[in-house]
Protein backbone atom coordinates (compact mmCIF):
# COMPACT_ATOMS: atom_id res chain seq x y z
CA UNK A 1 0.00 0.00 0.00
CA UNK A 2 1.41 3.37 -0.97
CA UNK A 3 0.24 6.63 0.50
CA UNK A 4 0.90 9.98 -1.07
CA UNK A 5 2.78 12.20 1.35
CA UNK A 6 0.20 14.84 2.12
CA UNK A 7 0.22 17.23 5.03
CA UNK A 8 -2.87 15.60 6.52
CA UNK A 9 -1.28 12.19 6.08
CA UNK A 10 1.94 13.21 7.78
CA UNK A 11 0.10 14.80 10.68
CA UNK A 12 -1.92 11.64 11.06
CA UNK A 13 1.26 9.54 11.09
CA UNK A 14 2.90 11.72 13.70
CA UNK A 15 -0.14 11.70 15.97
CA UNK A 16 -0.63 7.98 15.51
CA UNK A 17 2.98 7.16 16.35
CA UNK A 18 2.94 9.49 19.34
CA UNK A 19 -0.24 7.84 20.59
CA UNK A 20 1.20 4.37 20.21
CA UNK A 21 4.41 5.36 21.97
CA UNK A 22 2.31 6.79 24.79
CA UNK A 23 0.18 3.63 25.10
CA UNK A 24 3.30 1.47 25.06
CA UNK A 25 4.91 3.60 27.77
CA UNK A 26 1.77 3.35 29.89
CA UNK A 27 1.87 -0.42 29.50
CA UNK A 28 5.52 -0.78 30.27
CA UNK A 29 5.84 1.86 32.98
CA UNK A 30 4.65 -0.28 35.90
CA UNK A 31 7.26 -2.87 34.94
CA UNK A 32 10.00 -0.25 34.76
CA UNK A 33 8.87 1.02 38.14
CA UNK A 34 9.10 -2.45 39.67
CA UNK A 35 12.51 -3.12 38.15
CA UNK A 36 13.93 0.28 39.14
CA UNK A 37 12.51 0.16 42.65
CA UNK A 38 13.81 -3.36 43.24
CA UNK A 39 17.39 -2.19 42.69
CA UNK A 40 16.89 0.92 44.79
CA UNK A 41 18.18 1.86 48.17
CA UNK A 42 15.35 1.52 50.71
CA UNK A 43 15.80 4.96 52.30
CA UNK A 44 16.05 6.77 48.99
CA UNK A 45 13.02 4.90 47.67
CA UNK A 46 10.89 5.88 50.65
CA UNK A 47 11.94 9.50 50.36
CA UNK A 48 11.32 9.59 46.62
CA UNK A 49 8.05 10.90 45.25
CA UNK A 50 6.61 10.44 41.79
CA UNK A 51 7.59 8.29 38.85
CA UNK A 52 10.77 6.25 38.88
CA UNK A 53 12.63 5.36 35.72
CA UNK A 54 15.94 4.18 37.17
CA UNK A 55 17.15 2.88 40.55
CA UNK A 56 17.27 5.42 43.35
CA UNK A 57 20.71 4.76 44.75
CA UNK A 58 21.67 1.39 43.29
CA UNK A 59 21.46 -1.26 45.99
CA UNK A 60 21.17 -5.05 45.94
CA UNK A 61 20.11 -5.35 49.58
CA UNK A 62 16.54 -6.25 48.61
CA UNK A 63 17.68 -9.11 46.38
CA UNK A 64 20.03 -10.36 49.07
CA UNK A 65 17.12 -10.41 51.51
CA UNK A 66 14.87 -12.19 49.00
CA UNK A 67 17.41 -14.86 48.18
CA UNK A 68 18.12 -15.44 51.84
CA UNK A 69 14.44 -16.17 52.38
CA UNK A 70 13.89 -19.93 52.60
CA UNK A 71 10.22 -19.60 51.61
CA UNK A 72 11.16 -18.16 48.24
CA UNK A 73 13.41 -21.13 47.53
CA UNK A 74 10.87 -23.76 48.56
CA UNK A 75 8.24 -21.81 46.61
CA UNK A 76 10.46 -21.90 43.57
CA UNK A 77 11.10 -25.61 43.95
CA UNK A 78 7.39 -26.39 44.32
CA UNK A 79 6.44 -24.19 41.41
CA UNK A 80 9.11 -25.70 39.17
CA UNK A 81 7.91 -29.19 40.04
CA UNK A 82 4.30 -28.24 39.43
CA UNK A 83 5.03 -26.41 36.18
CA UNK A 84 7.37 -29.11 34.90
CA UNK A 85 5.31 -32.19 35.69
CA UNK A 86 1.99 -30.39 35.29
CA UNK A 87 2.69 -28.87 31.90
CA UNK A 88 4.09 -32.14 30.56
CA UNK A 89 0.94 -33.93 31.69
CA UNK A 90 -1.19 -31.11 30.25
CA UNK A 91 0.39 -31.36 26.83
CA UNK A 92 0.32 -35.17 26.68
CA UNK A 93 -3.31 -35.51 27.82
CA UNK A 94 -4.50 -32.60 25.71
CA UNK A 95 -2.76 -34.03 22.66
CA UNK A 96 -4.34 -37.43 23.27
CA UNK A 97 -7.78 -35.90 23.70
CA UNK A 98 -7.31 -33.69 20.65
CA UNK A 99 -6.12 -36.64 18.59
CA UNK A 100 -9.16 -38.72 19.51
CA UNK A 101 -11.44 -35.77 18.85
CA UNK A 102 -9.89 -35.12 15.45
CA UNK A 103 -10.43 -38.69 14.15
CA UNK A 104 -13.20 -38.99 11.61
CA UNK A 105 -13.95 -42.69 11.80
CA UNK A 106 -14.42 -43.15 15.53
CA UNK A 107 -17.81 -44.20 16.76
CA UNK A 108 -17.81 -42.22 20.00
CA UNK A 109 -16.22 -39.10 18.56
CA UNK A 110 -19.32 -36.91 18.89
CA UNK A 111 -20.29 -37.82 22.47
CA UNK A 112 -16.60 -37.55 23.40
CA UNK A 113 -16.48 -34.02 22.05
CA UNK A 114 -19.77 -33.16 23.70
CA UNK A 115 -18.44 -34.37 27.05
CA UNK A 116 -15.53 -31.94 26.68
CA UNK A 117 -17.38 -28.92 25.33
CA UNK A 118 -20.19 -29.19 27.86
CA UNK A 119 -17.72 -28.46 30.66
CA UNK A 120 -17.00 -25.09 29.04
CA UNK A 121 -20.64 -24.15 29.51
CA UNK A 122 -21.43 -25.66 32.85
CA UNK A 123 -19.39 -26.39 35.96
CA UNK A 124 -20.25 -27.99 39.27
CA UNK A 125 -18.73 -25.07 41.11
CA UNK A 126 -16.00 -24.26 43.54
CA UNK A 127 -17.20 -26.22 46.58
CA UNK A 128 -18.11 -29.51 44.88
CA UNK A 129 -14.70 -29.48 43.16
CA UNK A 130 -13.01 -28.83 46.48
CA UNK A 131 -14.94 -31.67 48.14
CA UNK A 132 -14.09 -34.01 45.27
CA UNK A 133 -10.38 -33.22 45.47
CA UNK A 134 -10.51 -33.85 49.19
CA UNK A 135 -12.40 -37.10 48.68
CA UNK A 136 -9.72 -38.25 46.25
CA UNK A 137 -7.14 -37.70 48.97
CA UNK A 138 -5.35 -35.03 46.99
CA UNK A 139 -5.91 -32.27 49.52
CA UNK A 140 -2.68 -30.69 50.71
CA UNK A 141 -0.60 -32.16 47.91
CA UNK A 142 0.81 -30.57 44.78
CA UNK A 143 -0.85 -33.36 42.81
CA UNK A 144 -4.20 -31.73 43.55
CA UNK A 145 -3.14 -28.86 41.30
CA UNK A 146 -1.38 -31.03 38.74
CA UNK A 147 -4.29 -33.43 38.24
CA UNK A 148 -7.31 -31.16 38.74
CA UNK A 149 -6.23 -28.89 35.90
CA UNK A 150 -4.76 -31.57 33.64
CA UNK A 151 -6.86 -30.57 30.61
CA UNK A 152 -8.36 -27.28 29.53
CA UNK A 153 -11.21 -27.77 27.09
CA UNK A 154 -10.35 -24.53 25.35
CA UNK A 155 -6.77 -25.64 24.69
CA UNK A 156 -7.93 -29.06 23.59
CA UNK A 157 -10.11 -27.46 20.93
CA UNK A 158 -7.22 -25.33 19.69
CA UNK A 159 -5.10 -28.45 19.36
CA UNK A 160 -7.85 -30.43 17.70
CA UNK A 161 -8.35 -27.71 15.12
CA UNK A 162 -4.65 -27.79 14.36
CA UNK A 163 -4.59 -31.57 14.09
CA UNK A 164 -7.53 -31.49 11.71
CA UNK A 165 -5.49 -29.35 9.37
CA UNK A 166 -2.70 -31.94 9.10
CA UNK A 167 -3.00 -33.99 5.90
CA UNK A 168 -4.27 -37.56 6.41
CA UNK A 169 -1.62 -38.96 4.08
CA UNK A 170 1.05 -38.57 6.76
CA UNK A 171 -0.90 -40.69 9.16
CA UNK A 172 -1.96 -43.23 6.55
CA UNK A 173 1.56 -43.97 5.39
CA UNK A 174 2.65 -44.48 9.00
CA UNK A 175 -0.29 -46.81 9.59
CA UNK A 176 0.71 -48.82 6.50
CA UNK A 177 4.06 -49.35 8.13
CA UNK A 178 2.20 -50.83 11.10
CA UNK A 179 2.35 -47.85 13.45
CA UNK A 180 -0.37 -47.70 16.09
CA UNK A 181 -2.17 -44.51 17.09
CA UNK A 182 0.25 -43.71 19.89
CA UNK A 183 3.18 -43.84 17.49
CA UNK A 184 1.25 -41.79 14.95
CA UNK A 185 0.42 -39.13 17.52
CA UNK A 186 3.74 -38.81 19.30
CA UNK A 187 6.16 -39.59 16.46
CA UNK A 188 4.37 -38.19 13.41
CA UNK A 189 1.73 -35.63 14.40
CA UNK A 190 3.41 -33.91 17.35
CA UNK A 191 6.62 -33.02 15.49
CA UNK A 192 4.56 -31.57 12.65
CA UNK A 193 2.38 -29.66 15.12
CA UNK A 194 5.28 -27.89 16.80
CA UNK A 195 3.67 -24.41 16.73
CA UNK A 196 0.56 -25.60 18.53
CA UNK A 197 2.61 -27.64 21.01
CA UNK A 198 4.68 -24.55 21.80
CA UNK A 199 1.48 -22.55 22.27
CA UNK A 200 0.16 -25.18 24.65
CA UNK A 201 3.41 -25.21 26.65
CA UNK A 202 3.17 -21.44 26.96
CA UNK A 203 -0.54 -21.30 27.87
CA UNK A 204 -0.43 -24.14 30.37
CA UNK A 205 2.97 -23.23 31.74
CA UNK A 206 2.08 -19.60 32.35
CA UNK A 207 -1.22 -20.39 34.00
CA UNK A 208 0.46 -22.94 36.26
CA UNK A 209 3.29 -20.57 37.10
CA UNK A 210 0.94 -17.69 37.88
CA UNK A 211 -2.07 -19.41 39.44
CA UNK A 212 -2.52 -18.86 43.14
CA UNK A 213 -6.22 -19.35 43.83
CA UNK A 214 -6.52 -23.13 43.78
CA UNK A 215 -3.16 -23.50 45.50
CA UNK A 216 -4.59 -21.34 48.28
CA UNK A 217 -7.66 -23.59 48.43
CA UNK A 218 -5.96 -26.98 48.14
CA UNK A 219 -2.71 -26.52 50.01
CA UNK A 220 -2.41 -26.03 53.75
CA UNK A 221 1.15 -27.14 54.40
CA UNK A 222 3.48 -24.16 54.09
CA UNK A 223 6.36 -26.34 52.91
CA UNK A 224 4.29 -27.10 49.80
CA UNK A 225 3.41 -23.50 48.97
CA UNK A 226 4.12 -22.67 45.34
CA UNK A 227 5.81 -19.38 44.57
CA UNK A 228 2.50 -17.62 43.87
CA UNK A 229 1.34 -18.22 47.45
CA UNK A 230 4.61 -16.99 48.90
CA UNK A 231 4.26 -13.94 46.68
CA UNK A 232 0.75 -13.38 47.93
CA UNK A 233 2.00 -13.24 51.49
CA UNK A 234 4.74 -10.78 50.65
CA UNK A 235 3.03 -8.60 48.04
CA UNK A 236 -0.62 -8.63 49.03
CA UNK A 237 -0.74 -9.39 52.71
CA UNK A 238 2.39 -7.32 53.22
CA UNK A 239 4.00 -9.61 55.77
CA UNK A 240 7.48 -8.65 54.69
CA UNK A 241 9.15 -8.35 58.06
CA UNK A 242 7.65 -11.60 59.29
CA UNK A 243 8.66 -13.41 56.10
CA UNK A 244 12.11 -11.98 56.24
CA UNK A 245 12.38 -12.73 59.94
CA UNK A 246 15.84 -13.89 60.84
CA UNK A 247 17.39 -12.83 57.58
CA UNK A 248 17.36 -9.10 58.31
CA UNK A 249 16.97 -7.12 61.49
CA UNK A 250 13.62 -5.53 62.27
CA UNK A 251 14.58 -1.93 61.50
CA UNK A 252 16.43 -2.87 58.34
CA UNK A 253 13.53 -4.88 57.05
CA UNK A 254 11.17 -1.98 57.56
CA UNK A 255 13.38 0.27 55.55
CA UNK A 256 13.84 -2.07 52.67
CA UNK A 257 10.31 -3.50 52.87
CA UNK A 258 9.23 -1.76 49.68
CA UNK A 259 12.25 -2.73 47.66
CA UNK A 260 11.91 -6.29 48.96
CA UNK A 261 8.38 -6.41 47.61
CA UNK A 262 9.55 -5.23 44.23
CA UNK A 263 12.51 -7.59 44.18
CA UNK A 264 10.15 -10.48 44.96
CA UNK A 265 7.88 -9.45 42.11
CA UNK A 266 10.91 -9.38 39.81
CA UNK A 267 12.16 -12.78 40.91
CA UNK A 268 8.74 -14.26 40.14
CA UNK A 269 8.21 -12.50 36.82
CA UNK A 270 11.59 -12.51 35.10
CA UNK A 271 11.65 -16.28 34.33
CA UNK A 272 8.40 -15.96 32.37
CA UNK A 273 9.63 -12.92 30.50
CA UNK A 274 12.74 -14.88 29.54
CA UNK A 275 10.75 -17.68 27.93
CA UNK A 276 8.22 -15.42 26.27
CA UNK A 277 10.28 -14.08 23.31
CA UNK A 278 11.10 -17.62 22.18
CA UNK A 279 7.49 -18.66 22.06
CA UNK A 280 6.05 -15.41 20.77
CA UNK A 281 6.15 -16.38 17.11
CA UNK A 282 4.07 -19.46 17.86
CA UNK A 283 1.37 -18.26 20.20
CA UNK A 284 -0.05 -15.65 17.86
CA UNK A 285 -1.07 -18.50 15.61
CA UNK A 286 -2.46 -20.44 18.57
CA UNK A 287 -4.61 -17.53 19.67
CA UNK A 288 -5.97 -17.15 16.17
CA UNK A 289 -6.97 -20.79 15.88
CA UNK A 290 -8.52 -20.60 19.32
CA UNK A 291 -10.61 -17.55 18.68
CA UNK A 292 -11.83 -18.75 15.31
CA UNK A 293 -13.22 -21.88 16.85
CA UNK A 294 -13.94 -20.64 20.34
Amino acid sequence: MKYKATIAGTTFDVVNHALLVFVTLLTVYPLIHIAAASFSNGFRLMAHQGLIFWPQGFDLAAYRAVFRNRNIWTGYRNTLFMVGVGTALNVILTAMGAYVASRKNVFWQKPFMFMIIFTMFFQGGMIPLFLQVRALGLYNSLWSLILTFAISAFNLIIMRTYFQGIPDSLEESAKMDGANDFVVLFRIIMPVAKPVVATMVLFYGVSRWNGYFWAMVFIRNRALYPLALVLREILVMGTVSEMMGGSVTATDSEQIADSIKYATAMVATVPILCVYPFLQKYFVKGVMIGSLKG
Binding site: Q49, L93, F112, I116, Y276
Partner: protein, 318 residues
Protein backbone atom coordinates in the same frame (compact mmCIF):
# COMPACT_ATOMS: atom_id res chain seq x y z
CA UNK B 1 -37.64 -38.96 23.18
CA UNK B 2 -41.30 -39.47 22.24
CA UNK B 3 -40.73 -41.66 19.21
CA UNK B 4 -38.80 -44.32 21.11
CA UNK B 5 -42.03 -46.11 22.03
CA UNK B 6 -43.60 -45.78 18.57
CA UNK B 7 -40.64 -47.25 16.71
CA UNK B 8 -39.69 -50.21 18.85
CA UNK B 9 -39.01 -52.72 16.04
CA UNK B 10 -36.85 -50.27 14.14
CA UNK B 11 -34.95 -49.43 17.28
CA UNK B 12 -34.32 -53.10 17.97
CA UNK B 13 -32.79 -53.84 14.61
CA UNK B 14 -30.86 -50.63 14.82
CA UNK B 15 -29.47 -51.50 18.24
CA UNK B 16 -28.41 -54.86 16.84
CA UNK B 17 -26.56 -53.17 14.05
CA UNK B 18 -25.08 -50.71 16.50
CA UNK B 19 -23.72 -53.56 18.60
CA UNK B 20 -21.95 -55.09 15.62
CA UNK B 21 -20.62 -51.69 14.60
CA UNK B 22 -19.43 -51.03 18.12
CA UNK B 23 -17.45 -54.25 18.18
CA UNK B 24 -15.89 -53.48 14.83
CA UNK B 25 -15.15 -49.95 15.96
CA UNK B 26 -13.62 -51.21 19.17
CA UNK B 27 -11.33 -53.64 17.36
CA UNK B 28 -10.32 -51.18 14.68
CA UNK B 29 -9.76 -48.29 17.06
CA UNK B 30 -8.52 -50.05 20.18
CA UNK B 31 -5.61 -47.62 20.59
CA UNK B 32 -7.96 -44.70 20.20
CA UNK B 33 -10.08 -46.08 23.02
CA UNK B 34 -6.95 -46.53 25.12
CA UNK B 35 -5.99 -42.95 24.40
CA UNK B 36 -9.44 -41.61 25.21
CA UNK B 37 -9.54 -43.46 28.51
CA UNK B 38 -7.39 -41.11 30.64
CA UNK B 39 -9.17 -38.10 29.14
CA UNK B 40 -12.57 -39.54 30.00
CA UNK B 41 -11.38 -40.47 33.49
CA UNK B 42 -10.14 -36.91 33.98
CA UNK B 43 -13.45 -35.40 32.91
CA UNK B 44 -15.44 -37.76 35.08
CA UNK B 45 -13.29 -37.19 38.16
CA UNK B 46 -12.80 -33.45 37.95
CA UNK B 47 -15.85 -32.22 36.07
CA UNK B 48 -18.76 -34.65 36.11
CA UNK B 49 -18.51 -35.90 39.69
CA UNK B 50 -18.33 -32.27 40.94
CA UNK B 51 -21.39 -31.56 38.78
CA UNK B 52 -23.18 -34.40 40.52
CA UNK B 53 -21.77 -33.09 43.81
CA UNK B 54 -23.59 -29.82 43.21
CA UNK B 55 -26.75 -31.56 44.45
CA UNK B 56 -25.54 -30.80 47.96
CA UNK B 57 -27.05 -27.37 47.34
CA UNK B 58 -30.41 -29.11 47.86
CA UNK B 59 -29.20 -30.88 51.00
CA UNK B 60 -27.83 -30.10 54.41
CA UNK B 61 -24.44 -31.54 53.61
CA UNK B 62 -22.22 -32.87 56.33
CA UNK B 63 -18.99 -34.69 55.45
CA UNK B 64 -19.75 -37.42 58.01
CA UNK B 65 -23.00 -38.35 56.24
CA UNK B 66 -21.63 -37.91 52.73
CA UNK B 67 -23.49 -36.61 49.70
CA UNK B 68 -26.00 -39.48 49.64
CA UNK B 69 -26.66 -39.61 53.36
CA UNK B 70 -27.17 -35.91 54.01
CA UNK B 71 -30.81 -34.86 54.42
CA UNK B 72 -32.67 -33.06 51.64
CA UNK B 73 -33.74 -29.49 52.28
CA UNK B 74 -35.17 -28.62 48.86
CA UNK B 75 -34.71 -25.05 47.78
CA UNK B 76 -34.01 -23.82 51.30
CA UNK B 77 -30.50 -22.53 50.53
CA UNK B 78 -31.65 -20.83 47.37
CA UNK B 79 -34.48 -18.98 49.06
CA UNK B 80 -32.14 -18.07 51.91
CA UNK B 81 -29.78 -16.54 49.40
CA UNK B 82 -32.44 -14.77 47.34
CA UNK B 83 -33.97 -13.26 50.46
CA UNK B 84 -30.69 -12.23 52.00
CA UNK B 85 -29.22 -8.77 51.91
CA UNK B 86 -26.23 -10.17 49.97
CA UNK B 87 -28.18 -11.37 46.94
CA UNK B 88 -28.79 -7.97 45.39
CA UNK B 89 -25.40 -6.67 46.37
CA UNK B 90 -23.35 -9.47 44.81
CA UNK B 91 -25.61 -9.67 41.77
CA UNK B 92 -25.41 -5.93 41.19
CA UNK B 93 -21.63 -5.88 41.69
CA UNK B 94 -21.12 -8.82 39.34
CA UNK B 95 -23.15 -7.18 36.59
CA UNK B 96 -21.71 -3.69 37.17
CA UNK B 97 -18.09 -4.86 37.10
CA UNK B 98 -18.71 -7.12 34.15
CA UNK B 99 -20.56 -4.46 32.14
CA UNK B 100 -18.03 -1.73 32.92
CA UNK B 101 -15.30 -4.06 31.84
CA UNK B 102 -17.19 -4.75 28.63
CA UNK B 103 -17.98 -1.12 27.83
CA UNK B 104 -14.41 0.12 28.40
CA UNK B 105 -12.41 -3.02 27.86
CA UNK B 106 -14.01 -4.29 24.67
CA UNK B 107 -13.31 -1.33 22.35
CA UNK B 108 -9.75 -0.82 23.67
CA UNK B 109 -8.01 -3.57 21.68
CA UNK B 110 -10.01 -2.68 18.56
CA UNK B 111 -8.77 0.90 18.73
CA UNK B 112 -5.21 -0.21 19.42
CA UNK B 113 -5.33 -2.67 16.52
CA UNK B 114 -6.65 0.03 14.16
CA UNK B 115 -3.88 2.40 15.22
CA UNK B 116 -1.28 -0.33 14.75
CA UNK B 117 -2.73 -1.14 11.36
CA UNK B 118 -1.94 2.37 10.14
CA UNK B 119 1.74 2.00 11.05
CA UNK B 120 3.94 1.24 8.07
CA UNK B 121 7.22 0.52 9.81
CA UNK B 122 7.08 -3.15 10.71
CA UNK B 123 9.84 -2.82 13.32
CA UNK B 124 7.88 -0.16 15.18
CA UNK B 125 4.70 -2.20 14.92
CA UNK B 126 6.37 -5.36 16.17
CA UNK B 127 8.00 -3.54 19.08
CA UNK B 128 4.69 -2.05 20.22
CA UNK B 129 3.02 -5.46 19.91
CA UNK B 130 5.71 -7.35 21.83
CA UNK B 131 5.74 -4.81 24.64
CA UNK B 132 1.97 -4.57 25.01
CA UNK B 133 1.59 -8.38 25.13
CA UNK B 134 3.84 -8.62 28.20
CA UNK B 135 1.32 -7.73 30.95
CA UNK B 136 -0.84 -10.66 29.87
CA UNK B 137 1.83 -13.03 31.19
CA UNK B 138 2.27 -11.42 34.57
CA UNK B 139 0.87 -13.20 37.60
CA UNK B 140 -2.33 -11.82 39.03
CA UNK B 141 -0.58 -11.83 42.41
CA UNK B 142 2.13 -9.52 41.13
CA UNK B 143 -0.46 -7.29 39.51
CA UNK B 144 -2.52 -7.11 42.68
CA UNK B 145 0.62 -6.35 44.68
CA UNK B 146 1.44 -3.59 42.22
CA UNK B 147 -2.05 -2.10 42.40
CA UNK B 148 -1.96 -2.15 46.20
CA UNK B 149 1.41 -0.46 46.23
CA UNK B 150 0.68 2.13 43.56
CA UNK B 151 -2.68 3.18 44.99
CA UNK B 152 -1.77 3.53 48.65
CA UNK B 153 -1.66 7.01 50.14
CA UNK B 154 2.07 7.42 49.54
CA UNK B 155 2.03 5.40 46.31
CA UNK B 156 3.09 6.54 42.89
CA UNK B 157 -0.43 7.25 41.56
CA UNK B 158 -1.11 9.50 44.54
CA UNK B 159 2.25 11.19 43.96
CA UNK B 160 1.09 12.08 40.47
CA UNK B 161 -2.37 13.12 41.68
CA UNK B 162 -0.79 15.29 44.38
CA UNK B 163 1.57 16.93 41.92
CA UNK B 164 -1.50 18.13 40.02
CA UNK B 165 -2.91 19.49 43.26
CA UNK B 166 -5.24 16.56 43.99
CA UNK B 167 -6.01 14.93 47.33
CA UNK B 168 -4.12 11.81 48.38
CA UNK B 169 -6.47 8.92 49.14
CA UNK B 170 -5.94 5.25 49.80
CA UNK B 171 -7.88 4.18 46.75
CA UNK B 172 -8.47 0.57 47.77
CA UNK B 173 -10.28 1.75 50.89
CA UNK B 174 -12.77 3.77 48.85
CA UNK B 175 -15.79 1.84 47.53
CA UNK B 176 -16.17 4.34 44.69
CA UNK B 177 -12.68 3.64 43.36
CA UNK B 178 -12.87 -0.10 43.08
CA UNK B 179 -14.64 -0.58 39.75
CA UNK B 180 -12.43 1.92 37.88
CA UNK B 181 -9.30 0.36 39.39
CA UNK B 182 -10.45 -3.10 38.41
CA UNK B 183 -11.39 -2.10 34.88
CA UNK B 184 -8.25 -0.04 34.24
CA UNK B 185 -5.99 -2.82 35.44
CA UNK B 186 -7.87 -5.33 33.29
CA UNK B 187 -7.46 -3.13 30.23
CA UNK B 188 -3.79 -2.66 31.05
CA UNK B 189 -3.30 -6.40 31.19
CA UNK B 190 -5.48 -7.45 28.26
CA UNK B 191 -5.36 -4.71 25.63
CA UNK B 192 -2.24 -5.83 23.78
CA UNK B 193 -3.21 -9.46 23.85
CA UNK B 194 -6.68 -8.60 22.58
CA UNK B 195 -5.28 -6.97 19.43
CA UNK B 196 -3.95 -10.30 18.10
CA UNK B 197 -7.26 -11.49 16.73
CA UNK B 198 -8.17 -8.11 15.21
CA UNK B 199 -4.76 -7.72 13.60
CA UNK B 200 -5.23 -11.14 12.06
CA UNK B 201 -8.61 -10.06 10.69
CA UNK B 202 -7.06 -6.84 9.40
CA UNK B 203 -4.34 -8.61 7.43
CA UNK B 204 -6.96 -10.58 5.52
CA UNK B 205 -8.47 -7.45 3.98
CA UNK B 206 -7.89 -7.28 0.24
CA UNK B 207 -5.38 -4.43 -0.44
CA UNK B 208 -7.12 -3.88 -3.77
CA UNK B 209 -10.02 -2.30 -1.90
CA UNK B 210 -7.74 0.38 -0.51
CA UNK B 211 -6.12 1.00 -3.88
CA UNK B 212 -9.48 1.44 -5.55
CA UNK B 213 -10.57 3.80 -2.80
CA UNK B 214 -7.39 5.85 -3.18
CA UNK B 215 -8.08 6.23 -6.88
CA UNK B 216 -11.57 7.43 -6.01
CA UNK B 217 -9.99 10.07 -3.81
CA UNK B 218 -10.71 8.58 -0.40
CA UNK B 219 -8.53 9.72 2.49
CA UNK B 220 -7.46 7.56 5.39
CA UNK B 221 -10.46 8.36 7.52
CA UNK B 222 -12.79 7.41 4.68
CA UNK B 223 -10.90 4.17 4.21
CA UNK B 224 -10.99 3.39 7.91
CA UNK B 225 -14.70 4.01 8.06
CA UNK B 226 -15.80 2.40 4.80
CA UNK B 227 -13.31 -0.43 4.31
CA UNK B 228 -11.43 -1.35 7.48
CA UNK B 229 -14.26 -1.27 10.00
CA UNK B 230 -16.83 -3.09 7.85
CA UNK B 231 -14.21 -5.76 7.08
CA UNK B 232 -13.55 -6.58 10.70
CA UNK B 233 -17.15 -6.03 11.80
CA UNK B 234 -17.99 -9.78 11.76
CA UNK B 235 -15.03 -10.52 14.05
CA UNK B 236 -16.05 -7.68 16.35
CA UNK B 237 -19.65 -8.85 16.53
CA UNK B 238 -18.78 -12.48 17.22
CA UNK B 239 -16.32 -11.54 19.95
CA UNK B 240 -18.83 -9.13 21.44
CA UNK B 241 -21.51 -11.81 21.58
CA UNK B 242 -19.11 -14.24 23.21
CA UNK B 243 -18.16 -11.61 25.78
CA UNK B 244 -21.84 -11.06 26.53
CA UNK B 245 -22.09 -14.75 27.23
CA UNK B 246 -19.64 -14.27 30.07
CA UNK B 247 -21.61 -11.47 31.67
CA UNK B 248 -22.07 -13.38 34.91
CA UNK B 249 -18.41 -14.34 35.18
CA UNK B 250 -16.05 -11.96 36.89
CA UNK B 251 -12.43 -12.84 37.54
CA UNK B 252 -12.56 -13.49 41.26
CA UNK B 253 -8.84 -14.21 41.49
CA UNK B 254 -7.94 -10.55 41.31
CA UNK B 255 -10.85 -9.35 43.43
CA UNK B 256 -10.00 -11.69 46.29
CA UNK B 257 -6.52 -10.22 46.38
CA UNK B 258 -7.68 -6.62 46.23
CA UNK B 259 -10.86 -6.24 48.22
CA UNK B 260 -11.41 -5.79 51.95
CA UNK B 261 -14.55 -5.65 54.09
CA UNK B 262 -14.56 -1.85 53.78
CA UNK B 263 -15.33 -2.05 50.06
CA UNK B 264 -17.43 -5.24 49.86
CA UNK B 265 -20.25 -2.84 49.05
CA UNK B 266 -18.88 -2.44 45.50
CA UNK B 267 -16.28 -5.20 45.22
CA UNK B 268 -17.96 -8.36 46.46
CA UNK B 269 -19.20 -10.44 43.50
CA UNK B 270 -21.00 -13.78 43.37
CA UNK B 271 -17.87 -15.90 43.04
CA UNK B 272 -15.99 -14.12 45.85
CA UNK B 273 -19.07 -14.54 48.02
CA UNK B 274 -19.15 -18.27 47.23
CA UNK B 275 -15.48 -18.51 48.14
CA UNK B 276 -15.89 -16.74 51.50
CA UNK B 277 -19.03 -18.56 52.50
CA UNK B 278 -17.86 -21.94 51.32
CA UNK B 279 -14.18 -22.17 51.96
CA UNK B 280 -13.76 -19.75 54.85
CA UNK B 281 -17.08 -20.01 56.74
CA UNK B 282 -17.49 -23.65 55.58
CA UNK B 283 -21.17 -23.19 54.74
CA UNK B 284 -20.81 -25.81 52.01
CA UNK B 285 -24.37 -26.41 50.96
CA UNK B 286 -25.33 -22.75 51.03
CA UNK B 287 -22.36 -21.59 48.97
CA UNK B 288 -22.80 -24.47 46.53
CA UNK B 289 -26.36 -23.24 46.03
CA UNK B 290 -25.09 -19.73 45.33
CA UNK B 291 -22.48 -21.17 42.96
CA UNK B 292 -25.09 -23.28 41.21
CA UNK B 293 -27.27 -20.23 40.73
CA UNK B 294 -24.27 -18.54 39.11
CA UNK B 295 -23.50 -21.58 36.93
CA UNK B 296 -27.07 -21.79 35.70
CA UNK B 297 -27.18 -18.08 34.93
CA UNK B 298 -23.85 -18.40 33.12
CA UNK B 299 -25.04 -21.40 31.21
CA UNK B 300 -28.12 -19.53 30.02
CA UNK B 301 -26.09 -16.52 28.91
CA UNK B 302 -23.47 -18.66 27.18
CA UNK B 303 -26.01 -20.79 25.36
CA UNK B 304 -27.86 -17.73 24.18
CA UNK B 305 -24.63 -16.08 23.08
CA UNK B 306 -23.51 -19.24 21.32
CA UNK B 307 -26.84 -19.62 19.59
CA UNK B 308 -26.77 -16.02 18.37
CA UNK B 309 -23.17 -16.29 17.20
CA UNK B 310 -23.81 -19.48 15.22
CA UNK B 311 -26.73 -17.78 13.53
CA UNK B 312 -24.61 -14.69 12.90
CA UNK B 313 -21.79 -16.75 11.43
CA UNK B 314 -24.20 -18.34 9.00
CA UNK B 315 -25.85 -15.12 7.97
CA UNK B 316 -22.66 -13.12 7.72
CA UNK B 317 -20.61 -15.73 5.90
CA UNK B 318 -23.07 -17.03 3.35
Amino acid sequence: MADITTSVPAALTRSGRVRVNLRKDFIRNKYIYLMALPVVVFYVLFHYIPMYGAIISFKQFSPAQGIMGSPWVGFQHFTDFFQSFYFWRVLRNTVVISLSNLVWGFPAPIILALLLNEVRSSTFKRTVQSLTYIPYFISVVVIAGMIIDFTQTRGVINDVVASFGGQRVNMLQRPGHFVPLYVISEIWQQVGWGTIIYLAALTSIDPGLYEAATIDGANRVHKLWHITLPSIAPTIIILLILRMGNLMTVGYEKIILLYNPGIYETADVISTFVYRRGLIDLAWSYSTAVGLFNSVANFTFLLTANWISTRMKQTSLF
